[in-house]
């Protein structure tokens, strides 16, 4: 408990100050708070009472809810507190939301990724809210000397109807905070039909701060005496530092020092997010960001080829495996040649149903197509950065990180400090998309601070951010379908691989819908570091699979939606195999909904449309894209999405996230690409790495949710993977050409007249 008390003290950032008009207003720490605007100013309590880790209630009924998870734009800072507020049975207008720091003793699973925040927090947060509500009820029962079962709650008030007693939660908060928490097993959760907050759109609790430019991000954090740092990393994958000349920069204005930073201790066992491309870098420290960035350009350093190496790394299941890092300077052209070799030979079998070999032998027709996609850089708008203040026995870090728990383990080793002494404050992230699960920008800043014995803010240039790795891998998938004389589907074969991982999901659709099915994978080692990128693996394989199904449907003379529904009907009524990891009915449900909402198949005059559907992160999405051709360029006129992710907590914010995923996917499908020449990333900034812009964005996007009472599933990722194929299939309708290789733009440029 000592630790908790100490932490509570350092967390006591709620200061009460007098306001004109006699009310009291909370003054939050700059990063944690959500300062109310004048028109929604809450009257501040004199005292807060902690009901549990997530909930504090003031004597006047004001409520503070903590968002436990890191926020990177998925809006959990609003949606997770909504879940608490619902079961607590309070008025949303009385709520303050604060971002929790990383605090595993108080909060479960402070991680953002895998579209898991709402899904995994659903029951725990409902239980936390309902438990707090029960404590208020118990306090009222004690005060009024009536049975707790006879007390009801509504909008933050408790009532005992038969005696006419009624009180606000605030009046019971002081006593409730001292009562023993009831056993969670005895807690009754609300019926979904009784929800008053969940399912009703609430505005982003940080929006006012965002639109007025208040400090919210780690890059915005400052303290007195803080130094600034830049890093210099090897110019190519497969290279390492040989030596550098400190004097080439230390005489420059504002420059204090330059030194080597080694991220990992020799005896450290890496966990699965400890991916870092260059474990040894050079840090330059000075008085301002501009000065250290200038010094970067002047630093004289020598680099040498890195030898092949192997290190053990913990997998997600806890098992340790050896990660092989080959030597050499890799090229995109040789990547393509190597991939072609693997495409041509058998892969590793992951699933086989029936006798696919025999079926292909007797086929009247075989359709075979290969799809590819390049490496992608995450390109979060806020480049990697971190603030660190490391003293002899304590480290305070503001970092943009999706995975604070794992980086704290690394920090403890690298700094030589117990984990308990490392405080990680969860700054809002300027985008994540998977990139910030790999958080060694925090370690770099911390080691720099430890060395210079001063607080420091370290920031990557955009060039550092784009060239230091952790990319979406490059992938390939080859599909084959066997048809008989009557164009009946006999067998299906997928073989998918990549550098350095395979995107295969062997048990996903159309597995389970076809008697003879074979899934194979392959992979090629590389020293180019890769990591999670919005809907890992699905972000490629969905586009490949759904493009192939479109072509197959055409070959079979079927409507693409009807064709998918027929396969899903088979998977529902008479499934093949046992490990099919999707629900055919819910899958069909989104196809039917998108068919209705887009008025399929009638594309509006002058447009061409394509469809796609995919299941990932436990959610089902179908999308229809309508494009027109103007000035020899495709224009995305409309996108219709149908989503089944169970109960939607915050519908308008959920739609926003879906719209963003669609725009993101269209951008990456048209333009996204990272390439390499002799280990050097060829795109270093937004002048070369093309990102989708306003004028290329769809003119209209509609996101429709299937209404049901299923527990919530993923949302941030599932709308991203299917859009690649919906776009590709609409481009085919418009141009008569199939698009097998991402990005699509180079192929589009080769078509002389798109106005066919």
């Amino acid at each position: 408990m000592t630790l908790t008390d100490k932490k509570l003290n350092r967390r006591s950032f709620l200061k009460v100050s007098a306001l004109a008009g006699g009310g009291m207003m909370l003054s939050f720490s700059w990063l944690a708070g959500c300062k109310p605007t004048t028109d929604e100013l809450l009257t501040m309590p004199d005292e807060w009472f902690e009901i549990n880790s997530y909930i504090k209630i003031g004597e006047n009924g004001a409520v503070t809810l903590f968002n436990p998870n890191p926020e990177f734009g998925q809006n959990v800072k609003t949606s997770l507190p909504m879940i608490l507020a619902e079961e607590l049975d309070i008025d949303w207008k009385k709520v303050f939301v604060e971002q929790a720091d990383f605090y595993p003793e108080r909060f479960d699973r402070q991680f953002t990724g895998g579209s898991n925040s709402v899904r995994t927090s659903w029951k725990p947060l409902r239980t936390a809210g309902a438990t707090a509500r029960q404590l208020i009820v118990n306090a009222a029962a004690k005060t009024w000397e009536v049975p707790a079962e006879e007390i009801t709650t509504s909008h933050g008030t408790v009532e005992h109807k038969s005696s006419g007693k009624k009180a606000g939660y605030g009046e019971m908060a002081s006593l409730a905070g001292t009562l023993e928490a009831p056993d969670p097993e005895t807690i009754t959760l609300k019926e979904i039909s009784d929800f008053k907050i969940i399912g009703k759109s609430k505005k982003n609790v940080d929006a006012t701060k965002i639109v007025t430019g208040k400090p919210l991000f780690a890059l915005d954090h400052k303290v007195k005496g803080m130094k600034y740092a830049a890093i210099v990393h090897p110019p190519a994958f497969g290279m390492k530092l040989k030596s550098f000349d400190k004097s080439s920069v230390t005489s420059m204005p504002g420059i204090q020092d330059a030194f080597e930073v080694k991220i990992f201790k020799d005896d450290y066992g890496r966990n699965f997010f400890d991916t870092t491309t260059f474990p040894v870098i050079i840090a330059i420290v000075g008085d301002s960001t501009w000065e250290v960035m200038q010094a970067k350009k002047s630093l004289k350093a020598e680099w040498e080829k890195a030898p092949e190496s192997t290190f053990p790394m913990a997998g997600r299941g806890g098992q340790t495996r050896d990660i092989k890092v080959p030597d050499g300077l890799e090229n995109s052209s040789t990547h393509k040649e190597k991939m072609a070799e693997y495409i041509a030979k058998p892969g590793t079998e992951h699933r086989k149903d029936g006798d696919p070999e025999a079926a292909f032998k007797k086929a009247a027709k075989v359709l075979e197509r290969t799809y590819t996609a390049p490496f992608l850089a995450h390109n979060t708008m806020e480049p990697m950065n971190a603030f660190a203040d490391v003293t002899a026995d304590k480290a305070v870090i503001y970092g943009p990180t999706q995975a604070p728990e794992l980086i704290r383990q690394t920090l403890a080793s690298s700094l030589g400090m117990p984990q308990e002494n490392i405080q990680i404050n969860l700054a809002r992230m300027g985008g994540g998309f998977g990139r910030r699960a790999y958080s060694h920008h925090l370690t770099e800043a911390a080691l720099i601070s430890q060395k210079i014995k001063a607080p420091v803010k370290m920031v990557y240039t955009r060039e550092d951010d784009m060239t230091a790795g952790v990319y979406r891998p490059t992938y390939s998938a080859t599909y084959r379908a066997a048809l008989d004389e009557d164009n009946k589907l006999l067998a299906f074969h997928v073989k998918a691989g990549g550098i350095p991982e395979s995107p295969l999901h062997a048990n996903r659709f159309p597995a389970g819908a076809i008697d003879n099915y074979l899934a194979e994978g392959w992979q090629i080692d590389s020293n180019i570091t890769i990591g999670a990128f919005r809907a890992p693996r699905s972000n490629f394989i969905a586009g490949a699979e759904q493009s192939f199904l479109d072509e197959l449907a055409e070959e079979m003379g079927k409507d693409p939606i009807e064709f998918r529904l027929e396969l899903l009907k088979r998977a529902e009524t008479n499934p093949v195999g046992e490990n099919n990891d999707y629900d055919p009915k819910r899958y069909a449900g989104v196809l039917k909904l998108v068919r209705e909402k887009s008025n399929w198949p009638s594309a509006p005059a002058g447009t061409s449309r394509g469809v796609s559907a995919y299941f990932c992160h436990n959610s089902y999405v179908a999308e229809v894209v309508d494009i027109s051709i103007k000035d020899n360029q495709p224009v995305v006129e409309s996108v219709y999405a149908a989503v089944d992710c169970g109960v939607v907590v915050n519908p308008d914010a959920a739609a926003n996230m879906g719209e963003g995923a669609i725009v993101d996917g269209i951008g990456n499908a048209f333009y996204g690409e990272m390439a390499f020449e002799d280990g050097v990333p060829t795109k270093t900034n937004f002048d070369k790495y093309r990102m989708i812009r306003h004028s290329e964005s769809p003119k209209k996007i509609e996101v429709h949710f299937v209404e049901n009472n299923e527990n919530p599933t993923g949302l941030g990722e599932p709308l991203f993977p299917p859009i690649f194929a919906a776009l590709g299939n609409s481009l085919y309708k418009a141009t008569g050409k199939r698009f097998y290789d991402q990005p699509f733009q180079p192929q589009l440029l080769q078509i002389e007249n798109l106005n066919m």
Binding site: G73, V211, T380, G430, G431, K699
Partner: protein, 152 residues
């Protein structure tokens, strides 16, 4: 180092910096105005957009030495109470996701509407094309600009 007298958000401020220092870093490091964001450093993403004498410019590529005698407005000074029509429209449409690019988007949109209070869709796209949003909030930004244009 050179001393500069700057007019930022209606206030006279002094800084002592290298003449080549971009306005972006003067704002962020020296004047504690961190609402203006660093995105690319080469005027390609628009995260650092501010107004200089009313024009939307990329502060990352604008050296401090050329802005004396000019009026700089940053997101912090766009309105006194966060109630510029563009800011209000942004809240109404709940535009931001991560929020990092939004001050730049808002400054570009405010400059557009000051010059052209009722832009067409094409004019909005053209004016906003220099501002990247990695979260993909473009359709909401367009809707918010149109809403704001109704109250200007």
């Amino acid at each position: 180092m050179t001393q500069y007298n700057l007019t930022i958000n209606g206030k006279s401020l002094q800084v002592d910096v290298d003449p080549d220092t971009p306005l972006l870093w003067v704002l962020r490091d020296h004047l504690n105005l961190v609402g203006t964001k660093f995105g690319c450093g080469i005027a390609q993403c628009g995260a650092c957009t501010v107004h200089i004498d009313g024009d939307a410019v990329r502060s990352c590529s604008y050296p401090v030495s050329v802005i004396e005698d000019k009026k700089v407005v940053t997101i912090e000074g766009l309105s006194e109470n966060g109630d510029h029509p563009v800011q209000k429209a942004w809240l109404e449409h709940d535009v931001p996701q991560c929020g990092y690019c939004q001050s730049g988007q808002i400054m570009t949109a405010a400059s557009l509407l000051a010059e052209n209070p009722h832009p067409t869709d094409e004019e909005i796209s053209y004016a906003m094309n220099g501002n990247i949003c990695r979260c993909g909030t473009y359709t909401r930004i367009k809707a918010a600009v149109k809403t704001a244009s109704k109250s200007i």
